[in-house]
Symmetry: C2
Subunit: 423 residues, 2 copies
């Protein structure tokens, strides 16, 4: 394998045409699409249309005429195709953190209702220590609010299945870990939880758009996910939320099962009824008025993923991460770089991460050369491979650049040592 | 007073130049800026810059380089000037509904902490029956979640002050009513509540940008408000949240006093600490990652208001609503149109509302003539006067158009009777 082989693979790549749909800056190899996806070329025109024609000329009338009112559901229905859900089980709203709060509260309500029939109150939210912090914070905040013995219990990545017991109300996991890309077995953990009487909330932030997810097939309960990573929805794009139809039905008579009750989650928002009565549909997970500019950009981003197809993206993602891991290990082993992502591609998302004692300045030095990856505290070099626009040659060149930064010790320069940068 | 007088007033209007900053469609008199503000001409270019340069070229680096990370606080500091708050007491986040949930929960925590010292638990949230429904829903959802006797008590608009007693934990009011524009005496109710040991949460959705608000002078506790009405931030623009510095300090050791704990509310988000420790500042009212496109548009909208100044806007707003009320009463009294907004401008926000038994089709017929107001169930014709871009001649013409619709009975046409339209 050499660079020419990579170029040949890129020329034969069936996804090649999709890279042209993105406005990528010259001189940059972008390996941070799992933090902020790249800009689709079509986004600018769509946002301009929303601003100038729909808002500027249509004004308030566009809630109907431009169908703003059901844009969250229309984009949600597209995302449903990426996660194996029914089109009416997904909507877009708020942030991943807030959606997590909603579904976690709803799952605990379901458990509470079951307990009042069958006895045996369950009050443990089970998660993993290395989960993305916002997920843990949301659970801590909700447990504090509910009191009455609700707790968040944390175990190691591989200890989750064994830790599910008859006190577990909800298992809350991120499918693909943000720090090292390790992927949980979503169907197996869901099955194990159900067998033990627990429910599962999946955070698909680092999965959707890069890894196939089949929620219906797994009989999944609840899920949330992020719009600005592999979905290319733009900085701070709206998140999405999934609730299985059977749970929506079961919660129908419990108005505050989703406790963030807002007017757009009401069954008749424009009746202006002083009492809350939730929509019977996934709409009850909507709270206030969503940003239409942000949703329109997300809509374009989701289309880029749908156009390529998740299976083709997954195949290329595995090829890219495998190639990058091989090359980094060949070229950088002498410099104390150690793989932290799973070696087995079946257990890995679309990223390849390495530990290095000076990971922060090493990444800064690499970014200065135009290879944009990410640092994750305390010592992780994180490289995300968005298969829609990253090429085999990019993976090759990035590994070579990393080897060169380490060999020349670029990273020792004072300019690269400041921790002032926040991302 | 005749139409020529109105035109003369517009020519002499010191705010005249500000109308030119908006892209208003031809042939439309827009009296719904209190539902969705008009498009500032500068917004398109600013959003294009964010999309194409900051996102497209800067990619993830723009969180630092384009200062995305502190955009919520920068816009918040501008809004602080419009509501008489300190620049570090306001930030932009999420929706009005969600911000209401946060501040209501925080206010109840403060009361609970006081009670544990002084005794006398207060668990009543007091509001008015005619408050905007989402405010009531949010309080209902929070009371349900907290249980333990927390209740929402509703009284009439004029009964609030007298209903505050030693069981009242929080008074939650919208400063200017969405349906009829009636305005509460913010300083007086705040003082009355404080005297009785209660706290106050103000929803400024229909005030900010049209009515002067002086939160610090009133010793206000908490407030929220909307970005897409008089602030011209675009459809579903982010909302804002205010917490008095003294309360931020008092809540510092209570990590979940604001229970929607997310990573951007953490004191060190990029340390990725598994335990939540809130920022000491107003940042703790941030949850997940905000939409940068939406915030950039809001920033431009807020600038349009700052450029004009709230006092000048208020003076013109009073002139416009007074003129419109006079003309409608003169021309339409015979057709069963009845003023529901307060006649005293000191008790009225920037809207003029009338009751009519066929308000829905009347408004549809008026919109068909290019006079865009709003219908509010069950029988309200609502006309908002955004003084940045509405002219005296518009108020005159709108009253004449309403009189003509009523005289000719346009509204009886079947096309105007459908209630399918949602806004």
């Amino acid at each position: 394998m050499n660079r020419a082989d990579c170029v040949a693979r890129d020329e034969a790549d069936p996804l090649r045409v999709h890279r042209a749909a993105f406005a990528l800056p010259d001189g940059v190899i972008y390996l941070d699409g799992n933090s902020l996806g790249a800009l689709p070329r079509a986004t600018g025109a769509r946002v301009r249309e929303v601003v100038e024609r729909e808002w500027g000329e249509g004004l308030i009338r566009s809630w109907n005429d431009a169908r703003w009112i059901d844009l969250p559901r229309r984009v949600g229905a597209k995302i449903a195709r990426l996660i194996g859900a029914r089109s009416d089980e997904v909507t877009c709203a708020d942030s991943t953190s807030l959606n997590l709060f909603k579904v976690l509260a709803a799952a605990l309500r379901l458990q509470s209702a079951r307990a009042s029939q069958a006895g045996g109150e369950r009050r443990v939210i089970l998660s993993e220590r290395g989960n993305f912090p916002t997920d843990l914070y949301v659970a801590q905040g909700l447990a504090d609010l509910l009191g009455a013995g609700h707790v968040l219990k944390l175990v190691g990545f591989d200890e989750v299945a064994a830790a599910i017991d008859d006190r577990t109300a909800v298992v809350m996991l991120t499918h693909v870990n943000f720090r090292d890309g390790a992927m949980h077995d979503l169907p197996a953990i869901t099955r194990r939880a159900h067998d033990a009487g627990a429910l599962v909330v999946w955070d698909l932030a680092h999965s959707v758009g890069a890894v196939p997810v089949a929620l219906a097939a797994a009989h999944a309960d609840f899920a949330v996910g992020c719009g600005y990573k592999y979905l290319n929805g733009g900085p701070g794009a709206p998140a999405f939320v999934y609730a299985a139809e059977r749970h929506l039905a079961a919660l129908q008579d419990d108005p505050f099962a989703q406790p963030l009750a807002g007017w757009l989650g009401h069954r008749a928002p424009f009746a202006f009824d002083p009492g809350y009565a939730p929509a019977a549909s996934i709409d009850r997970f909507t709270v206030g008025t969503p940003s239409i500019l942000a949703l329109a950009a997300l809509d374009v981003g989701v289309d880029t993923v749908l156009a390529a197809g998740v299976d083709a993206l997954r195949a290329k993602s595995i090829a890219l991460t495998t190639l990058f891991i091989e090359q980094v290990e060949q070229q950088c082993a002498a410099f104390g770089v150690e793989l932290v992502s799973p070696r087995d591609p079946a257990r890995r998302g679309s990223q390849a991460c390495f530990r290095h004692p000076h990971a922060f300045p090493v990444m800064q030095a690499l970014i200065a050369r135009g290879v944009i990856g990410d640092f994750r505290a305390p010592d992780i070099l994180r490289f995300g491979f968005a298969p829609l626009y990253v090429r085999h040659a990019d993976a090759w060149d990035a590994a070579a650049a990393l080897a060169d930064v380490l060999a020349r010790e670029d990273w020792k320069r004072p300019a690269f040592r400041s921790q002032g940068a926040v991302t």
